[in-house]
Chain length 504, copies 2
């Protein structure tokens, strides 16, 4: 009997022994009626304590695989070894052949790489898109342990309805009223993060070939999600007033979109807010052409100056707008609680699909959020992070303006998480990524926010996650990286990058 | 200016006033340059405090919608009212026309209704499928608040990688070794409940028309999920030794399934475990016909007597088995943490799709589970619930045997959560549901576990959630309901239920 012990393994030795004997019994190497080596002998040959082997044998016995009799040793039982002939030889599967069309459309590794980069500790990250650690409202956790345990039915640990705890839906409806949007709690669906709302929308509405309008640039994951379900995605450019609704109007002569996906306030990645005029015009077009509008709103509360524009959902009198928002950018990203506000027939259909995905958002997070909203500390917390993020934005702007890189341009955001920069003409964006990482700074390249490889001349910088001290250091590194990248352009003939190579 | 105050609303009155004035500004009823009524006058006409109106006006001013000058009153600004002509009249959308084929396939309200029934407090629920409140391991929460706050980077509140916290993946790999399955942490994907794994599998593998083999009966949500993505679902009957692998073999002459979905151990709903011989034979068929196997394993740790059969994943030498399990049935259902163990190429593809769905499982739950696994209290907890659930099973069996209903039959489960009962011949199952609910007891009708309306002669009873005291009471009510239903059968001609009516 061949048993191998790995002394460096995390797996206890008795489990290693037990599992290998199990395998021999199940694949027929150990036949019913055959004897295991005496414990002492096996212990000696493996160089382990006798008690280790004893424990392994005891577990095999408890599993009904062996029996031991004084004087006869430990014998493999026939009951569990009904079949012991080994069958033929087979090949491992070629996994790719099993994957669906959706799988194939979803194979973009970029976001995954970004998450990994964001976890590196030696780098100043302008790529993360998450809140500051320093402003985490840890007071939201105060007393949770005691309260959870003292709930008579442990509500925070049990299932909730698919739509979410009723009391959380009420608290969110109250928050919506404060934002100027009149909805009832049954028009609220609690989500495991607002991105889940985009994914469910894609499943609820989109058959392959259906048209979805997006902004260009747009939220990375939204592009990925709509691509994965096989939508035909049509981009509408964004300028400093938001989506170019005049371009949209032209496109609507040709296309009949089911959905218009927009982030009208402090857009990710551009930072711009859509003007009131365009908001109204967008709705009018949606009404006229019968397209539903997804208003994705993670950032509107992070406003620094100027008046906040009205929400599309606030302006919508006919029930075309599906509003998504989240606590990830205000409370904690890891808490995975967002919500949707929409007319009841939409809530119903989303609930049907959502039930298949994950049943409901995790109950503890729902309960922590509800508790925090009711505590009345939410407003003060929002005020605090607005202040802090405005300061960080200004530090970043100051650092960019000091000894500026010629040709580097940006839009000053009046809210939200991001600074959208245009690189100097001709900066090779892949080289810059590498040069920046070498110098210990990361950002998200503009290509992440476009389909089809466009956007290489842009980069997105986040100013909420890096500390006040790190922002100037990171910008310094970034400026060095840009300068270095421009000094040593890749050896290419002029115009080569833009020309199309014949595929042979 | 027409403003209506609802004094019974949860929305504060100043927000009601503010929101109505906003709406009038945005839709053009209040033109730029027009004056709002003086605060005192509006307060009087509405019968509210002057300070209420003051607060509303102050917020309108902060939003940049109005401005006030001493002596001139409060005036609507033009800046935010760029467009104030109202556009034409439109209709609300007919939402159904927007729904995808997937939406239409997913419109089964049964699970939703079950969740709602399970929340009713006046009923003894045998339908819930959840753990006992009395055995909740609330010790898992001890000290969490302090520990979360003291983490330097608040790991429990921030994003985790899509695959899950590395330390949790390690702890789960250790647990898998204890179960006899040798996997490395990078072969583990942490899920928001194991059902998410079924849903992702459906998206990763299934194009409409692809064949999926399921057991008959099978897990309700799995049937729903595979239906929704348009799979062709082929059922294989289950007997007291589990899936009828001989029937499967015949079906494989005709069909080329991509997936075989099975719950081999303490199956939901039948409670049976597949014999070792059939497990090996199932794998051989999968190897031979190149079908991947999903081994769904929520219940194997809840074993009452007899030896636990080896896992398919344990027996699988070629990498065809995708193993799913969960902490919902062991710790807390609301914590929404499950996992998948599979070959790395499968983990990778699942991660790509999962990232689109919800980014990652919520961090606090991941961290609570990891902490509990490492505490070493997991085994003792499992032992405790095994004991308790065995007792509750026995109480249920005793209650059924006492003064038994003629014709009511069941399989005695040796583990898991459920007792699967066959109703007396000819029991009209919809009437029974209603009669049982009238008497204050609920169960899941067998039809939930079959496609196409089959299974009406079965019901699934859960014995883990109802208390020891409630189980005999509930069974008493159920027996009364069955007897009453059989006494007053619906007025029908014999055989009518089975005949097919012409559709005219």
């Amino acid at each position: 009997m061949q048993i191998k012990i790995d002394r460096n393994s995390r797996t206890p030795m008795y489990i290693q022994i037990r599992n290998q004997i199990r395998a021999m019994i199940f694949d027929g190497r150990l036949r019913p009626g055959s004897l295991l080596p005496p414990e002492r002998k096996l212990a000696e040959s493996l160089g382990v304590n006798r008690s280790t082997v004893l424990t392994a044998y005891r577990e095999l016995k408890a599993d009904g695989l062996v029996d031991s009799h004084v004087g006869r040793g430990t014998m493999v039982l026939s009951a569990m070894s009904e079949v012991s002939e080994s069958y033929g030889e087979f090949d491992p599967p070629l996994y790719n052949q099993f994957f669906s069309q959706l799988s194939e459309r979803a194979n973009d590794p970029l976001l995954r790489d970004l998450l990994v980069v964001a976890n590196r500790k030696d780098i100043i990250s302008f790529s993360a898109g998450i809140s500051a650690i320093e402003t985490d409202p840890v007071e939201a956790l105060k007393g949770i342990e005691e309260e959870i345990v003292s709930q008579p039915n442990h509500e925070a640990l049990k299932h909730t309805p698919t739509e979410g705890f009723w009391s959380l839906r009420e608290a969110i409806a109250d928050l919506m009223h404060k934002r100027g949007i009149g909805v009832t709690p049954d028009e609220i669906l609690v989500l495991s993060g607002s991105q889940q709302g985009i994914d469910i929308a894609a499943r609820v509405f989109i058959d392959p070939g259906d048209v979805v309008i997006v902004e260009e640039p747009s939220f990375f994951s939204a592009l990925q999600i709509f691509s994965a379900v096989g939508a035909r995605i049509i981009g509408v450019p964004v300028d400093d007033q938001g989506m170019r609704v005049d371009v949209l109007e032209q496109l609507l002569q040709r296309y009949r979109p089911k959905l218009i996906y927009t982030m009208p306030t402090y857009q990710n990645p551009s930072g711009v807010s859509m003007s009131l005029e365009r908001r109204r015009r967008l709705l009018e077009l949606a009404y006229r052409r019968k397209a539903l509008v997804i208003e994705d709103d993670p950032y509107s509360e992070i406003s620094f100056e100027g008046a906040r524009k009205p929400y599309l959902k606030e302006l919508d009198t006919y029930g075309y707008v599906i509003y998504l928002s989240t606590f990830s950018k205000i409370l904690f990203p890891g808490i995975r609680i967002g919500w949707m506000a929409a007319p009841k027939p939409i809530i119903h259909q989303f609930t049907m699909i959502r039930q298949l995905q994950d049943l409901h958002a995790n109950s503890i997070s729902q309960w922590i959020v509800e508790r925090f909203l009711r505590s009345g500390r939410y407003d003060a917390h929002v005020q605090r992070i607005r202040e802090e993020y405005r300061i960080r934005r200004d530090i970043m702007l100051d650092a960019l303006l000091e000894d500026p890189v010629p040709g580097l341009e940006w839009i000053k955001p009046t809210g939200g998480y991001y600074l959208w920069c245009k690189l100097p003409e001709g900066t090779p964006n892949m080289s810059l990524m590498v040069n920046a990482a070498d110098r210990g700074v990361s950002y998200v390249p503009g290509t992440a926010f476009y389909l089809g490889g466009k956007g290489g001349q842009y980069m997105r910088l986040n100013y909420t996650y890096p500390s006040r001290e790190d922002i100037p250091k990171g910008i310094e590194r970034l400026k060095e990286a840009i300068t270095a990248t421009l000094k040593r352009p890749p050896h290419k003939y002029p115009g080569e990058e833009k020309s199309i190579k014949p595929i042979v």
